[in-house]
């Protein structure tokens, strides 16, 4: 091929994604003296991290001195139904307090206790008040702090650049990636000694989701195509409380902080139904009367936890059951009530964005009325299989951190553990990538054929004249995943989804777009569809294979957990590296936990 006519950049460490994990990784790699570049699909500061509300979990013990990393580790493993990579859960619990304090050194202003420490709030599945927060806009604080740090360090940030595919050298090591500028549609290549994926989640494939347009699973898909393994792809978190009305905002997140601060769930009969849904593993630590539960908010020793603060998978399933039984609200949700339980002043101070969001978008004053809420697709527990300490994948030179990484959260993530995940493992990926580059065995060539193929594929939609509108395919995909691979799954529905997804693959090959390449959302969507379809297939395959119910994965036809399946992850790979290459799935045993950590889980206190 002749000389490439597009822009080309070279870095030691290239980071794809500018949310919390990507920015934190960049800071670390830069401090190690690396030449660092960040590529993001949006503008800097707009990544999905900005939407995180309730807080960042870290066992600092500012409210309850009894709290420590061991309790946090235990809570995380129990919340994840023991499917977690124990080593990630351990590192996360040990390191998150330092990562929070570090944010403060970089300018974050968390809410304070009376004696001037960082205030921590209660959240589902955490035994103690553990979430450092700023009202209900903690994600904004986190991303702004990291963004400002990155900018002050002079790190190169390439905004509104969509990465299409990873590029190898001739020996299978990662050598960089190819993408295009959204503003012009011109292609660009980044040659890099190491690449960190920090691309976030996949929620855009569902109809009712809290995720933005960016969450199309690009990193999950590109890792798979590049030869990495995906694990736990069946474990998708449906957050129990998304808005349900008006339809315009259906799926929009309502923070768990509402429940942490005293809000309760009621059905159309006015019952606090969560008392009927306490699973055996949580019975000892959950209140069995409203009276006991209500005492707990003021004094955690006066009563056991309210059942509204069970882990998210438990609460989301309960809401789903209530609605199906005909005890739902007019628009197919249930009621979340804080108005009758806390003063208007308290609600406005603790939950300012929720107040604002309901007032402006739904015309509901949450200090006077209940909110109507229901489950919404929120978070991907599954992701790229990585080494816990370095975040390196099985592909040399490829790292993954944050939501795109798998293992940390097992089958279900606790609220607050994602922001801490971002900074703990973002930092570790930065260290891992710097170590890898310094060790010297890095890519030497840049496989031009992979670049050429990706470009030809991306331009395909301009070649077809009578093809389908990409928005129609996206719409049908979202309907399919919502109804067939949603919160409750069955063999029959999964089979239909599998077949339909193959049809979608053919439809995507025939998509056509109008207009030119410069800032063309139709074309941009067309280039997102391959990863959306690919991760949807992967979730469906995982859900078909795991014939049990565990955490975020619930099977109607296998309602119980199977102890044998609790010992394995399902790992997925492809051969061939194309977006439509068939995916294979195998059982992969969990890491064996050392006895001292096992002992922490067995403590019942």
């Amino acid at each position: 091929m002749s000389e490439p006519t597009y822009e080309h950049h070279e870095y030691d460490v290239l980071i794809i994604g500018a949310g919390g994990a990507g920015l934190r990784a960049a800071i670390e790699a830069k401090q190690r003296g690396m030449k660092v570049g960040i590529v993001t699909k949006s503008l800097l500061g707009k990544a999905h991290t900005v939407m995180a509300e309730g807080g960042i979990a870290a066992a600092m013990g500012n409210i309850h001195a009894e709290d420590n990393w061991m309790v946090h580790f235990r809570d995380t493993m129990r919340g994840g139904k023991y499917l977690n990579n124990y080593r990630m859960a351990e590192l996360h619990a040990k390191e998150s307090p330092d990562r929070v304090w570090e944010l403060e050194q970089w300018g974050a202003l968390f809410d304070r206790t009376k004696d001037g420490k960082i205030l921590q709030r209660d959240f589902g599945g955490h035994r103690y008040a553990r979430l450092a927060h700023v009202g209900d806009r903690t994600g904004l604080e986190l991303i702004r702090t990291l963004q400002q740090k990155v900018v002050s360090m002079g790190i190169d940030v390439f905004m509104e650049c969509k990465v299409l595919k990873l590029v190898h050298d001739n020996d299978g090591r990662i050598a960089g990636c190819v993408g295009y500028w959204r503003a012009t549609g011109e292609f660009v290549t980044f040659q890099a000694k190491s690449v960190i994926l920090a691309t976030g989640g996949i929620g855009r494939s569902w109809k009712f989701t809290s995720n933005s347009w960016e969450s199309t699973g690009d990193g999950h898909a590109m890792a798979l195509w590049a030869g990495a393994k995906l694990i736990d792809m069946e474990c998708v978190q449906f957050h129990p409380t998304g808005m349900v009305w008006p339809l315009s905002v259906r799926g929009l997140l309502v923070t768990e902080g509402v429940r942490g601060d005293g809000g309760v769930l009621r059905n159309s009969l006015g019952e606090r139904f969560m008392f009927n849904y306490v699973a055996p593993m949580f019975r000892d630590e959950t209140a069995d009367s409203e009276e006991e539960a209500d005492k707990w908010y003021d004094d955690h020793n006066a009563g056991r936890r309210p059942p509204e603060l069970l882990p998210r998978d438990e609460v989301a399933r309960a809401i789903n059951t209530e609605v199906k039984a005909g005890r739902g609200s007019p628009h197919g949700g249930v009621y979340l009530d804080i108005a009758t339980r806390r003063s208007a002043e308290f609600i406005r101070r603790r939950l300012p964005s929720m107040y604002h969001q309901f007032m402006e978008l739904a015309g509901v004053d949450i200090t006077r009325e209940s909110m109507e809420i229901g489950p919404t697709c929120h978070y991907m527990m599954g992701g790229v299989k990585v080494d816990a300490d370095s975040q390196e994948t099985i592909v040399p030179g490829l790292f993954a951190a944050g939501e795109v990484g798998g293992g940390m959260h097992g089958a279900n993530r606790l609220g607050g553990n994602s922001l801490s995940d971002l900074v703990v493992f973002g930092r570790r990926a930065g260290i891992g990538a710097a170590d890898y580059v310094e060790a010297g065995n890095v890519a030497t060539a840049f496989n031009q054929r992979e670049v050429d193929d990706a470009i030809i594929e991306a331009l395909g939609p301009f070649e077809h004249t009578d093809g389908e509108n990409p928005y129609d395919i996206q719409h049908d995909l979202q309907e399919l995943m919502q109804s067939n691979v949603g919160i409750i799954r069955s063999a029959a529905e999964l089979e239909v989804a599998t077949k339909k997804l193959d049809e979608f693959t053919d439809r995507v090959k025939n998509v056509s777009v109008k207009g030119g390449r410069a800032y063309n959302p139709g074309w941009n969507l067309a280039t997102d569809l391959p990863s959306m379809i690919c991760v949807s297939k992967s979730v469906t395959l995982g859900a078909t294979s795991r014939k049990e119910s565990r955490g975020g994965h619930t099977r109607d036809d296998f309602p119980n957990a199977d102890p044998e399946l609790g010992k394995i992850n399902f790992a997925q790979t492809t051969d061939g590296g194309n977006w439509d290459s068939p995916i294979t799935i195998v059982e992969s045993p969990l890491l064996v936990m050392p006895d001292d950590l096992k002992a922490l889980l067995e403590e019942t206190k």
Binding site: S42, L43, L44, G45, K46, A47, V50, M51, W101, E104, Q105, W106, G107, L109, F110, D111, R112, D115, G116, K117, I118, V134, G135, R137, L140, E141, R144, Q148, K149, V151, S152, M153, G154, M159, A183, S212, W213, E214, P246, L247, S248, V249, L253, S353, Q357, E360, L361, A362, G363, Y471, D472, V513, K514, G516, A518, Y519, N520, P521, G522, W523
Partner: protein, 259 residues
């Protein structure tokens, strides 16, 4: 419900024109819902930015009936009868349709000298809620850049962008200046290079802020007072020199690395 007609500006740096779309309207819909439906049907290449669709990321800023608004937070039932006119932000160069080149703001962000705190004591810093609250108000900023768009210092005078950082960065400077831990001094920098003096307090920025930050009253006016005191008041100048926690000069502050 009645149909809605939307007149959307379409074009690029070389020029453009309004295109009309008439669509069905559903209960509770916002302007961004209609834009999305236009993209999904009549005009898949209609360019606009958006991310969260919840008023939290500040991506979908545009001018609706001539006023800067977030498209995701503007309910159609709050707008007057008749066509809804949607145009890109005026103060920034057009890329395409409703998308503008907001890089001016990122250039300004890179000029801000970072926070400079003392070393952290064991167990973290102690700060009190009443002391962090002032900064917290400014940190609610979602960087929608509508305050920049509406500020006539740059909206009407492109040439001022060279020496004027705008309301978004005045609240950033105010936040740092009021930060309980900060030991940097940016006052000369703000006066000499960031053009604080150009602001004549018309409060247009405060009016359009979707986060209801009191940009003028709580940030710009106090910042003006501090900067003026620092520059003209010899007692204040002397006071700074002999106080133990002396802030470093603007020039030093700009080059010192953050911790």
């Amino acid at each position: 419900m009645a149909d809605v007609t939307m007149r959307v500006w379409r074009g690029d740096a070389s020029g453009g024109e309004f295109e009309s779309f008439t669509l069905e309207q559903n209960e509770g819909e916002v302007v961004l819902d209609i834009i999305h439906r236009i993209q999904a049907t009549d005009a898949p290449d209609l360019a606009c930015r958006w991310n969260c669709k919840a008023g939290k990321c500040g991506s979908c800023s545009a001018e609706i009936n001539g006023k800067p608004r977030l498209m995701c937070m503007t309910r159609l039932d709050t707008l007057p009868e008749g066509p809804v006119i949607v145009t890109p932000m005026k103060a920034f160069p057009i890329i395409r349709d409703l998308v503008t080149d907001v890089s001016f703001n990122y250039v300004q962000a890179a000029k801000v000298p970072a926070l400079m705190p003392p070393p952290m004591p064991e167990g973290g810093y102690r700060m009190f809620q009443e002391d962090v609250e002032r900064g917290q108000e400014f940190r609610k900023c979602i960087e929608c850049f509508m305050c920049q768009d509406v500020c006539h210092v740059i909206r009407d005078h492109e040439e001022n962008k060279e020496h004027y950082s705008g309301p978004r960065f005045f609240i950033r400077y105010a936040e740092l200046e009021m930060h309980p831990l900060d030991q940097n001094d940016r006052r000369e920098l703000i006066r000499e290079e960031m053009g604080l003096g150009y602001c004549n307090i018309t409060k247009c920025c405060t009016e359009v802020c979707p986060e209801h930050i009191h940009i003028t009253d709580n940030a710009i006016i106090p910042l003006k007072e501090r900067v003026v005191d620092a520059h003209y008041d010899p007692v204040a100048w002397l006071g700074r020199k002999i106080r133990r926690r002396t802030k470093t000069s603007a020039a030093d502050a700009a080059v010192q690395p953050a911790p």
